[in-house]
C-alpha cells in the first residue's frame, strides 16, 4: 500500500503533464480539423489544394517524425519551441489532419437541401457553413473524432522522445531507479485505460445528447 502511494506520488507530475497535453491538443485538433475539412470543400481551388497537400504530408509522416522535425528542425529556421510546445504542435497538426478527413466526409453527407435553404434565407456562404453545415457535420463526425482523440491519448507517450516529462517518461525513469516493472507499467497501463474510458464516455454522452435530431416521430 505504501509503495502504491509512493508510486502514485512519483507519477503524479507526469500524469498532470499528459492530461495537459491531451486537454489542450484535443480541442485544438478538432477545431483545426473542422477548419481544414470546411476549407477542403468550400475553400476554392487554391485553398483546397493547399489543404490536400497539408493533410497528405501530415497523415503520411509518422507522428514521432513530425515531432522530431518540429523540435529539432524548426530551430534551423530561427523558431525555437520547448519540448511541451513542440509536442502540442505536432499533436494538433497531426490530429487536425486526420480529423479534417472525417469532417470532410461528414460535410459531403449533408443533404444539399440544407445548403439551399440557408442560401434561400439570405445567408452568406460563411454563415451557411458556420451555422448550418458544420454543426450537423461535426455531429456525424463524432465517432471518427472520438477514435482520433483516443489515438492521441495513446500516442501522447511519444512525447518522451523529445524530453517531455509526461507519464510514460516518468515511469521509465522510475523503473530504471527502483526496477519494479510490473507494478510501474501496470499502473501506467491503468492510467491510459482510465483516460481512454473517460474520453469514450464523454463522446458517447455527446452522441446521445445530440442524437435527438436523427430520431423518428415519437
Amino acid at each position: 500500500m505504501d509503495f502504491l502511494l509512493e508510486l502514485l506520488t512519483a507519477l503524479s507530475s507526469g500524469l498532470l503533464r499528459t492530461v495537459e497535453l491531451i486537454a489542450i491538443s484535443a480541442p485544438c485538433g478538432i477545431a483545426l480539423g473542422a477548419l481544414l475539412g470546411a476549407l477542403s470543400i468550400y475553400g476554392g481551388r487554391i485553398l483546397s489544394s493547399i489543404v490536400k497537400l497539408f493533410t497528405a504530408i501530415l497523415t503520411g509522416f509518422p507522428l514521432l517524425v513530425t515531432m522530431l522535425l518540429i523540435f529539432f528542425g524548426l530551430p534551423e529556421f530561427g523558431i525555437y519551441l520547448g519540448p511541451t510546445e513542440s509536442a502540442l504542435l505536432s499533436f494538433v497538426l497531426c490530429s487536425g489532419a486526420y480529423i479534417s478527413q472525417y469532417v470532410k466526409g461528414a460535410i459531403m453527407s449533408i443533404d444539399e437541401g440544407q445548403s439551399l435553404a440557408a442560401r434561400a434565407l439570405g445567408m452568406t456562404r460563411a454563415q451557411e457553413v458556420i451555422y448550418i453545415i458544420l454543426p450537423q457535420a461535426l455531429r456525424r463526425a463524432i465517432p471518427g473524432i472520438s477514435n482520433e482523440v483516443i489515438y492521441m491519448i495513446q500516442y501522447s507517450s511519444l512525447a518522451f522522445a523529445i524530453g517531455v516529462q509526461e507519464v510514460y517518461s516518468i515511469s521509465k525513469s522510475l523503473n530504471s531507479i527502483i526496477f519494479r516493472p510490473l507494478e510501474i507499467f501496470t499502473a501506467l497501463a491503468l492510467f491510459y485505460l482510465a483516460l481512454c474510458t473517460l474520453a469514450n464516455f464523454l463522446f458517447k454522452l455527446a452522441r446521445r445528447r445530440l442524437r435527438v435530431m436523427e430520431s423518428e416521430l415519437p
Binding site: G113, A117, Q136, S215, E216
Partner: protein, 240 residues
C-alpha cells in the same frame, strides 16, 4: 411586384427555360402548373437567384435583380422560398429554425426574433408544444408549415412555393393548403408551383401553364382549367 422578361437557362447544353415572360402584381397569387421537366422549379430558383439565369431579366419591386451589381444575399432576403422537401435545418428546434434567419441574417435581437417567430408560428398553426421539437419529430404537414413560417418570418415581399404538398398525403396536404390559402387571402404575393387544382380555383388570381421551358397558356384559373386553349394545357388537365 414581379416581372420576368425573356428568361433563359441551360444545364449542360440542355435548354430548360426558353425565354419565359411572366408578371405578378402585388397581393396576387399565381399558380404555375405543368408536366415534370417543364422548368417550373428552375424558374422559381432563378427568381430568388439560387440559380443564375443565362439570359433575360427579373424585376422585383421595380429593381432588376439579375443585374450583376445587385447584392444576391439582399435579394434572397426579400423573397421567401418553400421547398418540396421542406429542408428544415435538422439540428435546430422548430423555434430556432424560424429565428436563425432573423438573428443571423437580419441582425435582430433574440427577444425581437422570438416575438416575430411567435407571430408566424401562430399564423401557420404550429402550437407552442411543438416549438422545442426537432424536424425529425414532426409530421410532414407540420414540417412544411414550419418551413412556411421560417420563410414568412423574414417578411418577404414575395413568397415562392415549389410543390409544397407533393411530398405529403392528402390529409397533411390539406393542413398546408389551408395555411397557404389564408396567407394568399391576407394579400401575401405568391408564386406557387403545384398540381392542386382546388387551390388554384379557390385562391389563385391567375394560372400559368408551363411546358418545355415556356409559358404556353395563362389566364384566370377557372377559364384555363375548364377551357384550355393549348394542347399542352388540355393534356395536363385531362390527366390531373
Amino acid at each position: 411586384m414581379l416581372r420576368i422578361e425573356g428568361l433563359r437557362k441551360s444545364y449542360n447544353g440542355m435548354e430548360v427555360l426558353k425565354g419565359v415572360h411572366l408578371e405578378l402584381r402585388e397581393g396576387e397569387t399565381k399558380v404555375l402548373m405543368g408536366p415534370s421537366g417543364a422548368g417550373k422549379s428552375t424558374l422559381l430558383k432563378c427568381v430568388n437567384l439560387l440559380v443564375r439565369p443565362d439570359e433575360g431579366r427579373i424585376f422585383i419591386d421595380g429593381e432588376e435583380v439579375t443585374s450583376p451589381k445587385v447584392d444576391v444575399v439582399r435579394v434572397r432576403q426579400k423573397v421567401g422560398f418553400v421547398f418540396q422537401e421542406f429542408n428544415l435545418f435538422n439540428h435546430l428546434t422548430v423555434l430556432r429554425n424560424v429565428t436563425i434567419g432573423l438573428t443571423k441574417v437580419k441582425g435582430m435581437s433574440k427577444e425581437e426574433a422570438l416575438r416575430r417567430a411567435r407571430e408566424v408560428l401562430e399564423a401557420v398553426r404550429i402550437g407552442e408544444e411543438l416549438w422545442g421539437r426537432y424536424p425529425a419529430q414532426l409530421s410532414g404537414g407540420q414540417k412544411q408549415r414550419v418551413a412556411i413560417a421560417r420563410a414568412l418570418a423574414m417578411d418577404p415581399v414575395l413568397m415562392l412555393y415549389d410543390e409544397p404538398t407533393s411530398a405529403l398525403d392528402p390529409q397533411l396536404s390539406k393542413e398546408v393548403l389551408e395555411v397557404m390559402k389564408e396567407l394568399s387571402r391576407k394579400g401575401v404575393t405568391s408564386l406557387v408551383v403545384t398540381h392542386e387544382l382546388d387551390f388554384a380555383m379557390e385562391v389563385a388570381n391567375s394560372l400559368a401553364v408551363m411546358s418545355c421551358g415556356l409559358i404556353v397558356e395563362e389566364g384566370p384559373p377557372s377559364e384555363v382549367i375548364r377551357n384550355p386553349r393549348s394542347s399542352e394545357a388540355r393534356r395536363l388537365f385531362c390527366r390531373v
